[in-house]
Point group: C2
Chain length 106, copies 2
C-alpha cells in the first residue's frame, strides 16, 4: 500500500469521535440520525465523520428506504493491522542487524 493512502486511512482513525462512531457501528449498524442521537454534536458533524470513514474504506453505506444505514467494515481494519504488524517487525529486524554491525565495527 502506498504511503499516501496509508496516511489518509490513519488520518481517518486519528479522531476520538470517529472511534466512538466505529465502536457503535461495531455493535450494530445504524443511520446517521440514530447515531447523532447518542452524541453531543449535530447530525451534520456525524455525517462528515461518516464520509471520512467511508472514504477510508472503514465503513459502508446502504440506502434502506428513506434512511441510509452504515455498517463497519472490519475486514479493512484487520488487513490494515496485519500490514502494520509486518512493517513494524521488518523495521525492528533491520534495526537490530544495524546494531550488530555497529558493535562488530568498534
Amino acid at each position: 500500500m502506498p504511503a499516501a493512502q496509508l496516511a489518509s486511512v490513519f488520518a481517518a482513525l486519528g479522531d476520538e469521535t470517529r472511534w466512538e462512531i466505529l465502536a457503535r457501528l461495531g455493535a450494530a449498524p445504524a443511520s446517521a440520525s440514530a447515531l447523532a442521537a447518542g452524541f453531543p454534536i449535530s447530525r451534520q458533524a456525524i455525517v462528515k465523520h461518516l464520509d471520512v470513514l467511508q472514504e477510508a474504506g472503514l465503513v459502508e453505506a446502504a440506502r434502506r428506504g428513506r434512511e441510509v444505514r452504515y455498517s463497519v467494515l472490519g475486514g479493512r481494519l484487520s488487513s490494515l493491522g496485519r500490514d502494520l504488524e509486518r512493517l513494524g517487525s521488518a523495521w525492528d529486524r533491520r534495526l537490530s542487524s544495524i546494531k550488530q554491525l555497529a558493535e562488530s565495527d568498534q
Copy 2:
C-alpha cells in the same frame, strides 16, 4: 488501550510526511538535520514531526555528542497492528451474526 490514546497515535500516523520520515528511519537511524536534507521542508518542520512521532511512541531519540539520533520503534507499530487485527475481526464476527439474526427473522 483506551480510545483516546489510540486516536492520538493514529493522528501521528495520519500525515504523509511522517510516513516518509518513518520509512527513512526504518532504513537507518538519523538526525533531524540529516533527515531534513532529503525533504523539501525546513529542519524545524522535521523536528516538529519527530516530536509528534516521539510523543506517540513510534520513534526514539538518543543524544550522541552534538547530534540527536532518532530511530524507529517497530515494536510499537507491531503491537498496534495486532490490536487492530483483533478489533476488526471481532466487528466482522458480530456483523455476520447480526445478519444471521436478520435473515432468520424475516
